[in-house]
Amino acid sequence: MKKYNAVFACLLLVLFTNSAAASSSLEEYFYASGKIKVVITVAAIVLIGLFVYLQRLDSRLKKLEKNKIEK
């Protein structure tokens, strides 16, 4: 779990440093070219979220496999 916490912390840090710099520049960034960047962010979050969950399932499975080999 520890490595995921690090990833989340990095993501949050990026988000907060962006928004802390200037809220208006964040808006400018996302409002540019017809708000298409909102869609890209949303699509990225959906894919990253599913990826992280699948990765967690994968690591659970790996643990089971390891136990089986040890037995």
Binding site: F30, V38, V39, A43, G49, L50, L57, R60, L64
Partner: protein, 355 residues
């Protein structure tokens, strides 16, 4: 899960991904750079979005200023590019209606219009006074190819329809599986006296694992729906969180399912845990239906389809949007079911390990 279902899932998701970025946004009117209208000559720059002013500068490009259902012709001074044109309109000092709109007509885009709050104090309004107006055939929604409907605040972010909304549809379906499995848990333990008790334990145990695996998968989609919705809200409604009934309902549902897992983890006896969690889950699903499907329809809110805000289906008459939206929803539901299936099998393997 059958292989053809997995392939169907992949195809549908690919189609959803493609259609969410590939199809153009329908043309629309953006703004006019004028704050005050006066009787006589008014010159302004008309800004459109995805329009084709330049392409039709010699055939069929027209601009009108309307007052109610009456139209005043304009003179095109300069077509700057496809989305900008400088026009001049001469208005009389008496107009029939205070509802002023700015229309642009091209053969490709059909008619687009802008309604902008404006200082119109220089005019006198009289219902029957229609001097200077011309008859115009307004051709709404003339664009031929499928495009996302143009909405002034939403713009391109309408494409989120393919990402944000399927999350909630998937959550409903997966949570419904969880609900059904919870009922099975209770009915299996209810037959305790009639059958061999070890048999019962196995039955209610597998239903309990199905219920918790599906609730976990549903919770993932709920979290994704909350985060994506929050980002969309920030850049259309202006805040990360608004007091919309659907948002608050979704948050309550999220907390409820978190509580479901806290409840599960706090009971050690497996049989007792199965029954307690099943009862909680049944109530949680009923509340989910009430909070997300019933309540928002009776309250004021910002989501489409609620309290005077039209749902997306009212923008496209030939329902071409449905033809890409429902495959996207179905693709995500299949993906959710697949993930649930994997989670369940891991759960069963883990429980075998413990014995």
């Amino acid at each position: 899960m059958k292989l053809w279902l997995k392939i169907l899932c992949a195809v549908l998701l690919f189609y959803a991904l493609l259609s969410s970025f590939y199809h153009p946004l329908a043309p629309g009117g953006l703004t006019v750079d004028i704050e005050k209208l006066v009787p006589g000559a008014n010159t302004f720059v008309y800004s459109g979005y995805n329009t084709h002013f330049k392409d039709h500068s010699n055939d069929g490009l027209q601009f009108f200023v309307s007052s109610g259902s009456h139209y005043y012709p304009t003179e095109i001074i300069e077509v700057i590019d496809n989305n900008h044109a400088k026009v001049n309109v001469v208005l009389p000092d008496t107009l029939p209606s205070e509802e002023i709109a700015f229309y642009a007509n091209t053969p490709t885009d059909g008619t687009v219009y802008i309604m902008k709050p404006m200082d119109i104090s220089a005019f006198v309004f009289h219902q029957n006074y229609t001097n200077g107006s011309v008859p115009v055939k307004v051709a709404n929604d003339q664009h031929q190819n499928f495009g996302y409907p143009f909405q002034v605040i939403i713009f391109e972010s309408i494409r989120n329809l393919m990402w944000h909304v399927p999350m909630w549809f998937t959550m409903f379906v997966i949570m419904f599986i969880s609900f059904i499995q919870s009922i099975h848990v209770l009915s299996a333990t209810g037959r305790e006296n009639m059958l061999d008790s070890s048999m019962i334990y196995v039955q209610s145990g597998i239903h309990d694992r199905k219920a918790s695996a599906s609730a976990e998968t549903g919770l993932i989609f709920c979290i994704l729906g909350l985060i994506t919705g929050s980002i969309w809200a920030r850049f259309t409604w202006g805040a990360w969180w608004t007091n919309d009934p659907q948002l608050n309902g979704a948050m309550v549902v999220f907390l409820m399912y978190v509580a479901y897992f806290i409840l599960r983890n706090s009971v050690n006896d497996e049989e007792k845990r199965a029954r307690l969690a099943a009862i909680f889950n049944i109530f949680a699903f009923v509340l989910l239906v009430v909070l997300l499907m019933v309540m928002p329809r009776f309250a004021e809110g910002l989501h489409p389809g609620k309290s005077g805000n039209p749902a997306f289906s009212s923008y496209d008459l030939d329902s071409s949007l449905r033809m890409v939206f429902y495959p996207a929803v179905f693709g995500f539901i299949l993906l959710g079911y697949w993930i649930y299936n994997l989670r369940l099998r891991i759960k069963i393997l883990e429980s075998n390990e413990e014995i």
